[in-house]
Symmetry: C2
Subunit: 252 residues, 2 copies
């Protein structure tokens, strides 16, 4: 089976390495940006195609489109015109199927950091059973955690991932910002963050909740809000109050 | 050296086990609640004292007070009266020294989950050098990560920890809530959360930020907010917007 990878960003780079390591043949890497396409294609030892959709080889069994959501619809339309009858899928958690299927590895990817796909859940969807079989076959070569999921459920999965990953990372950013102002290295927080997440492997998040808001410690919360205000951290003080309120009142 | 532990909650329970495992002698466990005191004292094989401060043995070298913040001042005052001239310290991140010192292991503790103290940062403070030496000696028997920190800096450390731990856990709670409504098990999120935190060991949080807000993907953000509103998740929709705004504008 041959795969063509459309895109050369954070996800495409990681997916490219995972496919190669799993022994899946990659025919070409396509990217809008020559440098990026070349860089990834060189790392994987495959051909790069830059910008011209018509240069994409039509011999692949599967075309995986891993580009930004805002250009996804347009690129898929161009690919459909060029690759008549071919299996084209995308990797976007928040988008409907658009073409024949979806291949969504749910993880936070950075181009600079190549991660193992072994335990990354991959959510697949296809418009017919034979396409689904192809997607499942490729997904199972990469990961031990493959699920079939509808577009509608995938949208919810994606929002949930924004909370778990993007917003969690932002909590770390705000924390690092406060520590930096007071000359404390962010690294002291890592054992705490590690344990916060490790705990969730054996305890539900609502049961694992600790801290001033969980024990309704009004004095500490007020003190924290005052400190943030006095330190001109208006935006953080607001977020602190809203998040504490959300924990306290369980208004979700 | 003998230590007496005042408290039998999440932190006291974990600290008790860590002290015992490190070979530090525990003379007594004091708790307001008989059941809790007995339970912990039995687990550690030491004497339990319930409710009556005057029953606390005055022969310990160090009294560590690990109780809720809102009763801390009162208990320390009673201990001071009973234990004249003894070294009394507390474990609260957000409180000033109150007595001779502070012994703050920064971690999220649950009574049901006994964790290793090996890499837990312990922040110590004392009113004089000889007390500080005692605290350092005990702390270094538990952890490879011991820091001296002033009360003022500790307050900031504690707020930062609320963001990194308590608010991060709440992000998981909100995520689990959304998934539950759509019959998706929360466990699919764990590889993503693991990697989100693992990344921070080698990348600053601001550099590690990904997601719709980080790439200013207005369409996806608007779509998510609409979905939450339509699903009657007003509170989550508000939080989604505020957190996205905070990532987008870097207004911190």
């Amino acid at each position: 089976m041959n795969v063509t990878l459309i895109g050369s960003g954070n996800l495409a780079t990681n997916l490219g390495h995972a496919l190669k390591n799993a022994g899946v043949g990659i025919l070409q890497i396509y990217s809008h940006t020559l440098d990026h396409a070349r860089h990834l294609a060189d790392a994987l030892g495959v051909d790069a195609v830059c910008d011209r959709i018509c240069d994409i080889n039509t011999m692949s069994d599967l075309y995986i489109v891993a580009v930004k959501d805002d250009v996804l619809t347009e690129i898929i339309q161009s690919l459909k015109n060029h690759l008549l009858g071919k299996l084209i899928v995308h990797t976007a958690g928040s988008m409907p199927m658009l073409s024949e299927g979806v291949f969504y590895p749910m993880q936070t990817f950075s181009r600079q950091r190549i991660v193992s796909f072994e335990h990354i859940p991959i959510f697949i969807e296809a418009s017919n059973e034979s396409d689904l079989q192809i997607l499942r076959k490729v997904a199972e070569q990469l990961s031990d955690s493959v699920y079939e999921l509808s577009s509608d459920d995938r949208r919810w999965l994606h929002i949930a991932a924004v909370f778990c990953c993007n917003f969690t990372n932002h909590m770390a950013t705000l924390s690092a910002h406060l520590l930096e102002k007071h000359n404390i290295p962010f690294s002291v927080m890592l054992p705490l963050m590690d344990e916060t997440v490790r705990k969730l492997h054996s305890m539900s998040p609502s049961r694992a909740q600790t801290g001033p808001a969980a024990r309704n410690d009004e004095q500490v919360m007020k003190h924290h809000v005052d400190m943030l205000c006095e330190d001109n951290e208006t935006s953080l003080s607001k977020l602190y109050q809203q998040l504490s309120q959300s924990i306290l009142t369980k208004a979700y």
